[in-house]
């Protein structure tokens, strides 16, 4: 007899198998070209089993990205307190870290953003831009600047976070379509961070 607990474990194991297969396929063929049938084949399960675990391919990508990004942001949690220097410097280091990590997955990242604006995701998924962890990390970096005295306490910090995320996302597009590497992306981002920081420097 299979207990409810064992069924749960088996379900979780199936999900992990599907996610591992999807990670591999997305990385080698890209999101668009990969099919659910191929994912099932590599995972060693039936197509029906895949759809049992995830309602759509979009949902699988959303979960793959969520797991990867959570790992990255936890790493940032650890690194952030170690950063020194002005708020501009700390923001630059932080985004350089993000770019170095994400350059290897530019196309997947773009597909992830495109899906966030489409209709196909269910309510449970975490599309791009809805990840509160990254927003909180950037906000923390800015708030540290307020207490350190190089960020104007009157500045609209939420607006600044959105500006930085807009610049971050845009820089990715340049990489994907103009073949810019991590170094070029970081340099473009550094310029944009410079402009934004001059906008909220405290006028002491």
């Amino acid at each position: 007899m299979i207990t409810a607990g064992a069924r749960q474990t088996q379900k979780a194991a199936t999900r992990q198998k599907v996610l591992a297969a999807a990670r591999e396929l997305f990385a080698t063929q890209g999101y668009e070209a990969a099919t659910v049938r191929q994912i099932a084949l590599i995972a060693g399960v039936s197509v029906g089993t895949v759809f049992n675990a995830f309602p759509s391919k979009a949902e699988i990508l959303s979960e793959v990205m969520k797991e990867r990004l959570e790992g990255l942001y936890s790493e940032l949690d650890r690194v952030l307190p170690l950063l020194r220097g002005s708020t501009t410097d700390r923001l630059r280091s932080m985004f350089a870290f993000l770019f170095a990590f994400e350059t290897r997955h530019v196309h997947l990242f773009l597909a992830h953003i495109a899906l966030a604006f489409d209709w196909t995701l269910s309510a449970g998924a975490t599309p791009y831009g809805r990840n509160l962890h990254l927003q909180a990390l950037i906000l923390e970096c800015l708030e540290k600047g307020v207490s350190a005295g190089d960020v104007d306490p009157q500045a609209d910090l939420r607006g600044v976070v959105d500006l930085l995320l807009a610049a971050f996302a845009w820089t990715f597009r340049l990489a994907a379509w103009e073949g810019a590497g991590a170094d070029a992306m970081i340099s473009v981002m550094d310029q944009q961070i410079g402009v934004i920081c001059r906008g909220f420097q405290s006028r002491a």
Binding site: E32, A176, Q191
Partner: protein, 216 residues
Amino acid sequence: MKHVSPKDVTHEGRVKGPTRRALAKQQTRGKVLAAARELFSERGYEGATIRDIASAAGMSTGAVFANFSDKSDLFREIMMNDLAQLADEMRDAASRARNVEDALLRLFSTGYTFFRQQMPLARAAISVSWNPEDGDRFRKVTQVLEIQQLMLEQLTAAVERGELGQEAEVKLRAQMLYDAYVCNFAFAIFDGWSLEALQSRSRDQIRIILAGARRG
């Protein structure tokens, strides 16, 4: 001897107006575009298929393909028409501005107002612009570039008026303004922000981006 410009030469064949066949073709295109607009708004870009669009327009998929090479071609045509109109409205709004900050805010607001009644279409457009396959083509559509150009023109004019310094890095700032303008659509789409809320956030962002470029 007086030169005759090619412009002055009349081609008799041209003045007759469109043939019946050309008119019919135009009508078919119009029907497909109307059906496609509705379906993209309802189901998003990925969710609407050529087959659905054909059946909503009351014709065969073959007839659709006779007029448009693929779905992305169809979508681009819809957005081109909308964005051309938007660019005109934006230019008009900016011409009544008091200063550079006001001009930029008017550009942003005109865009948010324009898509207010058709947010699903704006949402589909943003999705397409990020698509790893079609995104780059869409991003380089003349009408998209024109809106970016309008932002750049406001900054360049402000440098000439002396409102902004000579070293204002206008190109970079124009790009950043455009990014912010597009990204703010997400708040309208997902969080139901009002026009006032969008304007207030945009004003803060415009001020931040301009701050380092102001003279004095």
